[in-house]
């Protein structure tokens, strides 16, 4: 421990022990514990105690009956627990009878503070005595959910602890041979499972879930063998109590390597549960079963059937009465008489207020589609059955339904029959065209569409889209303008995001280009650059940038728009210098950086002028992310002028040998012309650290690159160098008034050489944040706060 902290600690301990000086900010106590944790993890706890007797003093003080705040009591108990985790320190505390007094006799009083500070429960170094266990049992039913949950976890700890040693290695050992404490816990769980009260059953199930999830010792098998009949008997009740917890437990058992391999009737129980639970409850279980690595085929089939049950109903219904679905889904969403299994299908189909619960299991189905392995025939069945989704939604689609399709898209694209592939895009198109689709549905539909297109196979030997996709595109493009004109900004934005993705992926392909240019999409996108919503403007900037990158003319050269491209550059520069919000400006910087990187025609025409203008505007920006992006652009320019750094990390300092030798003599000149140095030096002293750090890295890279640059000899003595250095010092002191003006390359190189950039980098790494987080600062703050803040605390953000 830092000596200054050691000096502060006694004062702090006495503050903590004094009930008249309450600690108002409990985050401080948490942070203090974090600090002790790092100390004890790195070194000896015993040493910590011996070197800082005030800590022991605090722990002893807590034992005295007094009006101590629950926060401080809980803090002390957690600290004691943390210290006692090391054997020698445990012995030491034990000798002083501190532990037994803290957690033994003082136990009940210590546990009184639990509701205020439940977390300390988990740091109790419990010697598992039956008495203590009784207290934990009662805490399981505490009105605080934190306490109840911590008590459950603690029971598992105690159980694990008491079975360490004797029972651990012997699977043959029956519960009857277990230590008293473990037996007591097992009986308690048994009793709870037999209880008629659901909360008690839930508690027991949760304890078991935690136990089987965390411990994979042989004793878990013994416990399961004893308790599984009771768990199975829960299924006989109607309705099945605590179904959620039961599902969690069964899955945790099935995942446990110890339990799933043994023949303790697990698969039978799972099968039974699948058939007993209601469809909504069984869904997650079925999904969990499908994800199991090893599981009997029959059970897998059963799980699969559960997932597809809603769709089966829909299909049966539609097969019997073709017009039925129309009746099934009138405005009110009520099922009419006459549906064969109507009452069942209704919860799956009926729109439920705003977010349709179609089908309740659809989420699960979707997850199954995307994450699970299905045999080929299953995949086909699934695909054809999911076709029903189109019938039942009719544009009143919901997010889950689209998600289902998304999953389906991915799978079909791998090996789907043509017919189904086409059917999918018809469904997607229906979502996209429907006037009733909500913004969320549209967003997901756009995402699904993009994925669908992305995964559609390209025609071999041709770089163009698959004919199906082409077809789709023809239908899709007329939809997009409508969406770009939507009154909802969410929809306009999602439309633009989709467009940007599309152009990025297929912008180079003739078919796509042709279709796009024939539509009004480019023109609308350009108009959206002036959208009232900043998010939309930013997305429009990205889309326009992408369009232009692909060489797609914005508007046909008309008398009003001579040279559309040029005007886009001007328009984006205008946005960069005038937009009141950060998102569009940041988007512009991204576009510009990309353009520079790709050698965009307009940029290449006069790169230096472009870079100079962008840097000039960016340096004045109030948003540090724009300034940081400006440095990114400067780096790209640097790379293009000096050659790429050899390392894949753009900011790594490159040894001089790696730099190409020839252009060096001339290299700094263009950098000077675009005033890159002025920009970088200004950024170096930026009040926002990421900018300063980025600039520092850039200058370090530059210095390394120009190490072998030999300008006029003795440039260090040039008077200009001294004046630049003086100006930089003023900048560093915070005065950023006067500009540096044009600098000669040799002056820059000399200044770079004389600067302590490494030192600066170190200082930047040690930011004020580090000071903020330092334990000394914490101790000082805690001491200074005593009695000082008070009323301010009430004042929130």
């Amino acid at each position: 421990m830092d000596p200054e902290c050691s000096q502060l600690l006694p004062a702090l301990c006495s503050v903590l022990a004094d009930p008249r000086q309450p600690v108002t900010d409990d985050t401080c106590l948490e942070k203090l514990l974090d600090w002790f944790k790092t100390i004890t993890e790195a070194g000896s706890s015993l040493l910590l105690l011996q070197e800082n007797p005030c800590l022991l003093g605090l722990l002893c003080h807590v034992l005295k009956p007094q009006d101590l705040s629950p926060r401080v009591l809980a803090f002390s108990l957690r600290l004691a627990g943390m210290l006692a985790a090391q054997e020698d320190c445990f012995q030491y505390l034990q000798q002083g009878e501190l532990l037994p007094r803290l957690f033994g006799e003082a136990g009940p009083s210590a546990l009184d503070s639990v509701p205020a500070e439940p977390r300390f429960l988990l740091s109790l170094p419990l010697s598992p005595t039956p008495g203590a266990v009784d207290t934990i049992f009662s805490l399981q039913g505490d009105s605080s959910l934190f306490v109840a949950s911590a008590a459950g976890q603690l029971l598992v700890h105690v159980l694990g602890l008491s079975l360490q040693g004797p029972a651990e290695g012997h699977p043959g050992l029956q519960t009857g041979d277990w230590p008293v404490c473990a037996q007591k816990i097992a009986s308690h769980i048994e009793e709870s499972l037999r209880s008629a009260a659901t909360p008690q059953i839930t508690q027991a199930l949760n304890v078991l879930t935690t136990a089987f999830g965390h411990c994979h010792n042989p004793w878990t098998q013994v416990l399961w063998v004893r308790l599984s009949p009771l768990v199975a008997s829960l299924l006989e009740k109607d309705p099945v109590p605590a179904a959620h917890s039961l599902v969690d437990l069964l899955l945790s058992v099935a995942r446990s390597p110890v339990l799933s391999s043994s023949s303790c009737g697990l698969w039978e129980t799972l099968a039974q549960t699948l058939s007993h639970l209601s469809p909504t409850q069984a869904g997650p279980l079925a999904l969990g079963i499908l994800k199991l690595q090893e599981c009997p085929q029959a059970l897998r089939a059963q799980a699969f059937a559960v997932l597809l049950q809603p769709l089966t109903c829909v299909l049966e219904a539609t097969a019997q009465a073709p017009g039925l679905l129309g009746m099934l889904l009138p405005e009110g969403g009520r099922v009419q008489e006459g549906s064969p299994r109507g009452s069942w299908a209704r919860p799956c189909l009926a729109p439920h207020g705003r977010h349709l619960t179609w089908p309740q299991n659809s989420w699960v189905v979707m997850r199954a589609c995307t994450t699970c392995w299905f045999p080929t025939q299953d995949r086909h069945t699934l695909a054809s059955r999911l076709g029903a989704s189109r019938l039942c939604d009719r544009g009143r689609a919901t997010a889950p339904a689209v998600l289902v399709l998304e999953g389906r898209v991915l799978h079909l694209s791998v090996s789907g029959p043509r017919e189904l592939v086409t059917q999918v895009f018809a469904v997607l198109l229906e979502y996209l065209t429907s006037p009733d689709s909500s913004p969320t549905v549209l967003k997901k539909a756009f995402q699904a569409t993009f994925r669908w297109l992305q995964s559609s196979p390209e025609t071999p030997g041709c770089s163009d889209l698959d004919p199906h996709a082409q077809l789709f595109l023809r239908d899709l493009l007329p939809v997009l303008p409508k969406r770009l004109c939507s009154p909802c900004w969410e929809v306009r934005d999602s439309g633009l995001e989709f467009l940007t993705q599309m152009i990025g992926r297929w912008g180079g392909q003739a078919g796509f280009r042709h279709a796009l240019l024939a539509s009004e999409v480019p023109e609308l996108t350009e108009q959206l650059l002036r959208d009232p919503e900043s998010y939309v403007r930013a997305s429009a900037v990205a889309a326009m940038g992408q369009l232009s990158s692909q060489g797609l003319p914005l508007t046909p050269a008309s008398p009003e728009h001579p040279g559309g491209q040029q005007s886009l550059l001007a328009e984006l520069l205008h946005i960069l210098s005038t937009d009141s919000e950060g998102f569009p400006r940041r988007a512009v910087m991204h576009v510009f950086t990309q353009w520079l990187r790709d050698g965009h025609a307009d940029v290449a025409r006069d790169t230096e002028r472009f870079v100079a203008r962008v840097l000039q505007v960016a340096s004045r920006d109030l948003d540090w992310e724009v300034r940081a992006q400006g440095l990114e652009l400067a780096l790209v320019f640097l790379e293009q002028t000096l050659g790429r750094p050899s390392s894949h990390c753009p900011y790594a300092v490159t040894p001089p040998v790696a730099a190409p030798p020839s252009p060096l003599a001339q290299a700094p000149r263009p950098l000077c012309r675009v005033q890159l140095f002025e920009f970088a030096f200004r950024a170096l002293f930026d009040c926002d650290r990421p900018v300063a750090q980025k600039s520092c890295d850039l200058l370090l890279f530059l210095r390394a690159q120009t190490a072998s640059y030999s300008g006029p000899q003795g440039s260090g003595s040039v008077p200009e160098v001294a004046s630049v250095e003086a100006a930089l010092q003023r900048w560093q002191a915070g005065e950023q008034g006067q500009p540096l003006g044009y600098l000669e390359p040799e002056v820059v190189v000399a200044v770079l050489r004389s600067m302590d950039l490494e030192g600066l980098r170190g200082a930047l790494a040690e930011s004020s944040d580090r000071v903020e987080k330092s334990p000394r600062s914490l101790l000082q703050d805690m001491l200074a706060t005593v009695g000082a803040l008070g009323e301010d605390e009430a004042d929130c953000y």
């Binding site: 605080s144 540090w624 009040c687 008034g737 000082a788 953000y797």
Partner: protein, 571 residues
């Protein structure tokens, strides 16, 4: 879920709520119908993008229009500060904030929004900050009002919270100032202006660290008016481009501000400032007095910290902290009186400038909270967003004054409230007609007992006559009779015993129809009594009594009567 805030005091997972308490393995959207955000402060909305984009909540999020507009700005502001620091993994990105905002459904004041078949919500004006709302949440006849943060006294730019007499089952109210009766806001404002004025007069520079939105606007209006009145010349600057944007929102949502601002808006927009100008970094070195608003508000990074370092050494200067600062920040340190601060690289900054704290937070004080309880007339009150000790005081006050139960659960604690929901039941015409036929006219003041069969079907409740129920449900009728044996000491013949019973009942039950049937049995309404000989004891007779469900009361009465024995025969 009501609000989804974050704790700014932590830099790790602890800053967000632990959502695993809702469900550990399940999907959150299955457990929550919607999320309601009361206002844009980060302790109420800071975890929203984390919750919706990283934890995976996919359902609707409700908030008012101004909150929807301003929330992403503050989230973005905070994200940038968090990213500015080191080791801030597991934090949401700009894209996530946007995606989250796309899930928001904006609501108008007093508009009833149907969340699903059962749940409806309605927003009320809460003052506090632009767009802050209280929400009434209703399911059937039961309702809860959640206040969020509110203010019962109007301030310079916002009005006072208001709610109608909605009599919710539960009012969940903030209790930040549970015990304080705040000194008048005017006093605090005068104090603030006096301090600024003094500093400027002596040629000092005044730094006011603020967060982009909220309090900053209030202080701007305050200074602007004062400068105008006093004809002061010292410049006032606002350091980020945010005033412009913020003021844009205040203009856009002018209906959410107070009456005075709305009235004067036509002549002069209060948010277009004459004296307050945009700040440029170079200005900080200008000689002479000035006032600068700079972000962020806790002096922990960025521009405000940079200016602070520059000005801290001069005792003529002043820093005014208008809000709470978390531990570790420079703001927290100077407020707790530390004057030598360690900066980067072990540099020590000596703070000679004057440090002032000015609370402008707009929460209801104890009086305001009581006023709201009086307005809404809840059945019970639940206190949140405050300190336990202070809540205890307020709880007693509420319980005494309003005679309602008041709760103050700790974090994670469950409170169960008994309610008596009224469930509408339809009644069949047939049953009503039969009641009417009995000649009694309905009287609203006199509740009346009505017999019928309650049918619960398709979550509908209907009361029908039992005959109709049988018909509808296709059930056959079963007659149920209760029977009882009463032993009487009577050596006479059975017929004679029956006769004695008849005359006894005839004399006792004058209001009922008592008959002696030819077969020797006696009836009282539907009750049938027969006398039989005892198989073993000839001196005892057994009375077999049976009655139907409808006459249960009479049947029990009669048997107890018979058990007392018959009066001695007066031969």
């Amino acid at each position: 879920m009501l609000d989804c805030g974050m704790h700014m005091g932590f830099n790790d997972d602890r800053r967000f709520p632990d959502f695993s308490y809702i469900t550990r393995n399940g999907r959150l959207t299955d457990f929550l119908d919607c999320v309601i955000i009361s206002h844009f402060h980060l302790d109420h909305c800071g975890a929203l993008p984390y919750f919706s984009e990283m934890v995976g909540y996919d359902g609707p999020i409700y908030m008012t229009h101004p909150t929807q507009a301003i929330c992403p700005i503050l989230l973005e502001d905070y994200r940038k500060i968090a990213v500015d620091k080191k080791g801030e993994a597991n934090f949401f990105t700009s894209q996530m904030i946007k995606d989250c905002m796309k899930k928001v459904v904006a609501v108008h004041l007093h508009q009833t929004v149907q969340v699903d078949d059962e749940l409806e919500i309605k927003a009320y004006y809460a003052g506090h900050v632009l767009g802050a709302a209280m929400f009434q949440i209703k399911v059937g006849s039961e309702s809860v009002v959640y206040t969020g943060d509110y203010n019962m006294t109007p301030d310079r730019h916002l009005g006072a919270a208001w709610i109608d007499k909605c009599r919710p089952n539960l009012l969940i109210t903030e209790s930040t100032y549970a015990t304080t009766i705040r000194d008048s806001k005017r006093c605090r404002e005068r104090d603030f202006l006096k301090k600024v004025h003094e500093a400027v007069e002596r040629g000092g520079k005044v730094l006011i660290p603020v967060f982009a939105l909220g309090r900053a606007q209030e202080l701007c209006i305050l200074l602007e008016t004062f400068w105008e009145r006093m004809n002061l010349k010292a410049p006032i600057y606002f350091s980020t481009g945010l005033t412009e944007k913020a003021n844009h929102y205040y203009k856009l949502f002018i209906t959410w501000t107070n009456q005075k601002i709305r009235k004067t808006f036509v002549q002069r927009n209060m948010f277009e400032f004459k004296h307050i100008k945009a700040f440029d970094r170079a200005f900080a070195d200008n000689p002479g007095p000035m006032v600068v608003f700079a972000t962020p508000g806790m002096l922990h990074a960025g521009q405000s910290l940079q200016i602070f370092r520059k000005w801290a050494g001069n005792e003529k200067n002043m820093v005014i902290m208008p809000g709470y600062c978390v531990q570790g920040t420079v703001g927290h340190k100077i407020l707790s009186g530390q004057r030598k601060l360690e900066m980067e690289g072990r540099q020590v900054l000596e703070v000679k400038m004057q440090v002032e704290y000015m609370s402008f937070s707009a929460h209801a004080d104890a009086k305001g909270i009581m006023q709201l309880v009086g307005q809404a007339e809840p059945e019970s009150v639940l206190l949140v967003h405050g300190e336990a000790k202070k809540m205890e005081f307020l709880k007693q006050k509420i319980e005494q004054e309003f005679r309602v139960s008041c709760y103050m659960p700790a974090n994670g604690e469950t409170v169960t409230l008994p309610t008596s929901p009224s469930i509408p039941v339809g009644i069949s015409l047939g049953l009503l007609k039969r009641e009417m036929a009995q000649g009694l006219l309905p009287d609203a003041k006199k509740p009346r007992l009505l017999h019928g069969t309650l049918i619960m079907k398709d979550s509908n409740f209907r009361l029908v006559s039992s005959e109709q129920a049988l018909k509808e449900l296709g059930l056959a009728e079963h007659q149920l009779r209760f029977t009882c044996r009463v032993h009487l000491h009577d050596p006479r013949k059975e017929q004679e015993t029956a006769m004695r019973v008849y005359s006894h009942l005839k004399s006792v039950l004058k209001e009922h129809c008592v008959q002696h049937l030819p077969d020797g049995s006696v009836t009282v309404e539907s009750i049938l009594i027969q006398a039989a000989a005892h198989s073993e004891d000839p001196g005892t007779k057994v009375l077999l009594v049976s009655w139907t469900y409808q006459d249960e009361e009479l049947g029990s009465h009669l048997t107890s009567l018979l058990k007392k024995g018959l009066p001695q025969a007066t031969s």
